[in-house]
Amino acid sequence: MLQVSRRAACAALLFGWTLFAGASSAEEFNLEEKVKLCATCHGADGVPINKQTPVIWGQNEGYFYLQLRDFKRGMRKNPLMEPIAAQFEKKDMYALAAYFNKKKWPNLGQPSAPAKVAAKAESAIKSIGCRGCHLDHFQGDGSTARLAGQSQEYLLATMLAFRDGSRGNNPGMSNLMSATPEDDFEALSQYLSGLQIDQYLGHGR
């Protein structure tokens, strides 16, 4: 119930913001204003206000930009995000992507997966080669999302949405999720969300 009420509050706040921002959409893009808009749901300190909302602080720049682009194009569906992204020009999306990329990824305090869960997840990961794109520590890069330390509930919902096609902006991911047994997703989400990588992450970019 708490989550429901928070989501409702988020939607209400956004509705107000969107009206406000919409009124000024023809004017020059105001990064500070848009950042405040994002913080309504994604958190003023980088911790999202509910578990279904993804962490965007520290997310990879290319991935961030492409999601906004896809919301604007209607390729990724979300009733809250589509009207927000519709206001943005390409340069605005890049500015937001660059801004949030530089923020420190928040620690959501999610536990490391137990050994059995981790082993089940690793088996699924090796089978479809997740690290081929998301890289060694699931830090992602460029146009590929960071998964390590992302909200477990969001990860689980996203994998299932790719699987059933309701998230339709990456058919390659949909194919890979379709080829993964449904039984593996809980383990995958627990394992990936519990990875704490910021102490040693460094990929030279």
Partner: protein
């Protein structure tokens, strides 16, 4: 995102300067890149004559695959079968990037130019391993690449080094300081284009292909001017008529089980799919200086596993192709797999070598190691196939069509030979390939072109718990017979170096780097490098002393332990 410390401190930081360089060739935008110069490198002057004569040059390594023929045959004999047991590290250089290494170092007059994942370039002293300079490419936000943020090396000409980047640019650097001379955008990374191959330089042209067969690109090989970065010619690896001859069997005569009637109906309905048909070129072309032709292989069609929306043979995917060096005009091609739905494409760089034809006559040939696990031997005149080798890996079930539930077939989608480079010992008439045995199931699931996003048309799945391994194989290219084969505990990826000292060098994903007897495959020397040795080795000499050098950085694609070491070996 970078949280790395400067590697300049390793070399003692004689002089550290941050050179802010304005980009001279980047269209409307200018940007600043940073090169850390510890000390200036001696100025090289690499002439076309040097590049052309590289095969006999035991001092320098001027090409990624050692020479224009791409034999990866080093003619030095100082390190040989009798003393390789005494081979020891001369130095170890640690890059700041702990990620997949597939690079081959270039060496000129005692200076080594080596790249890492994410497009860093280092110039280091090839005798001591000390750093001259370090260039870090200012990467654009959008990078769309398959199989790891790899780079396979630079090319060198006159006083510049050249590199393709993950964000689909081509850069030229001052070999003395590492500062940017020019930069040009090759293609739009948002549409799935990226660069991981090393360029090839010939006659004032930078030759480069593109990745992107997993993203619905239209592939190409291009020539750019070495002085200005301007485009000289473009060859589309996918012609506007990509339909072909409706081939039903592969190059080895196996039935591919195509439904030609369904494909013809789809062609009528959908039209020619050439605009998004893939056909990346991952590796360097071989250059025939006599005929002024280049030979390269073209990768898989997009989407990888779903043939239903790309009717026809999908020319020139999965093919050997020759074009005119001066103009980029088509000369000939040979397609190994028409209408591929397994991603068992053509990636390993072709090698020019004299071969026996079907009548036993010696003719100019070109050979290629396929992801299928066969070595293909062609006549260089018309690209025609003379013979193919015995299978180097299990091909059980080839060609079982992918299904929605997943169908098992061998080899798995990584091959076979994969991108790994082969080498040749011309005195023995042998080519040396490394292979994977990685059982997979092939799944098909149709989806429309997603505008530059991952577009597999299904999935390849490693079968959990299945036995995986690899091998090193010597193939007699005049007969097609396997001369010797050595099994390895892990699937192999990287490639081989052959030397006139009677040796073959190759590394393994668990960290072992080994020297094999070129004649019989006996392991004569081993060194444990601590991370996957999945980069091809090369050789050079400084002050009369010969060195073998290799990168140990592991591999993203098959997830071998990452590292950041460039290791040079010598005997005293």
């Amino acid at each position: 995102m970078g949280s790395c410390k400067s590697a300049a401190t390793i070399a003692g930081a004689l002089v550290v300067s941050l050179a802010g360089t304005t980009v001279a060739w980047s269209g409307a935008e200018t940007e600043t890149v940073v090169t850390t110069t510890t000390r200036e490198a001696p100025v090289p002057s690499v002439s076309q004559e040097m590049l052309s004569g590289a095969a006999a040059d035991t001092k320098n390594n001027l090409h990624t695959n050692l020479n224009y023929d791409q034999t990866r045959y080093y003619q030095g004999k100082q390190i040989n079968k009798s003393n390789v047991g005494k081979l020891r590290p001369a130095w170890i250089f640690q890059t700041e990037v702990v990620e997949s290494l597939e690079t081959t170092p270039i060496v000129v007059d005692g200076v080594m130019y080596v790249t890492t994942s994410f497009n860093h370039v280092y110039a280091i002293d090839a005798k001591t391993g000390e750093q001259f300079w370090h260039y870090k490419h200012k990467m654009g936000p959008v990078t769309t690449y398959c199989c790891g943020p790899n780079n396979r090396g630079v090319a060198i000409y006159e006083d510049k080094v050249f590199m393709g980047t993950l964000d689909a640019k081509l850069v030229a650097l001052d070999a003395k300081t590492g500062s940017l001379v020019w930069e040009t955008e090759i293609a739009d990374p948002e549409l799935g284009y990226s660069e991981t191959m090393a360029p090839t330089i010939v006659d004032g042209k930078v030759l480069i292909g593109t990745n992107g067969g997993e993203y619905g690109i239209r592939g190409f090989v291009r020539a750019y001017d070495t002085e200005t970065g301007k485009l000289v010619w473009n060859f589309h690896t996918i012609p506007e008529d990509s339909v072909g001859v409706w081939a039903t069997h592969d190059a080895t005569g196996k039935d591919m089980h195509r439904d030609i009637a369904a494909e013809k109906a789809a062609l009528k309905k959908l039209g020619d799919p050439y605009k998004t048909l893939g056909g990346g070129v991952w590796q360097n072309p071989a250059v025939d200086l006599k005929t002024k032709r280049i030979y390269f292989v073209v990768g898989n069609p997009s989407p990888d596993l779903d043939g239903s929306i790309r009717p026809g043979d999908n020319l020139y995917t999965d093919s050997l192709v020759a074009v005119d060096l001066n103009t980029g005009e088509y000369v000939c091609h040979f397609q190994y797999i028409a209408h591929d739905v397994w991603d068992l494409d053509a990636v390993s760089p072709p090698i020019l070598v004299d071969v026996k034809d079907k009548d036993g006559k010696t003719v100019p040939g070109v050979i290629h190691g396929g992801k299928t696990g066969n070595v293909y031997i062609h006549n260089r005149d018309d690209c025609s196939l003379i013979r193919f080798s015995e299978a180097m890996v299990d091909q059980t079930g080839m060609w079982t069509l992918p299904t929605p539930e997943g169908a098992k077939m061998l080899p798995g989608a990584n091959g076979g030979v994969e991108w790994s480079v082969m080498s040749v010992n011309p005195d023995l008439g042998l080519t040396y390939a490394v292979n994977l045995h990685q059982p997979m199931t092939y799944h098909v699931e149709s989806s429309p072109y997603p505008g530059g996003k991952l577009w597999l048309g299904g999935a390849f799945k490693v079968i959990p718990g299945s036995d995986q391994f690899g091998n090193v194989t010597a193939v007699d290219y005049n007969t097609g017979k396997i001369k010797w084969q050595k099994k390895t505990p892990l699937p192999m990826m990287g490639g081989t170096l052959a030397t006139a000292g009677g040796l073959v060098f190759t590394g393994e994903g668990d960290g072992w780097f080994r020297a094999y007897d070129a004649e019989n495959g006996d392991v004569l020397w081993s060194f444990f490098a601590g991370a996957g040795v999945n980069a091809p080795a090369t050789a050079y000499s400084v002050d009369g002393k010969e060195y073998i050098v290799v990168g140990a950085g592991g591999n993203t694609q098959i997830d071998f332990k990452r590292g950041n070491n460039i290791i040079a070996f010598t005997v005293d």
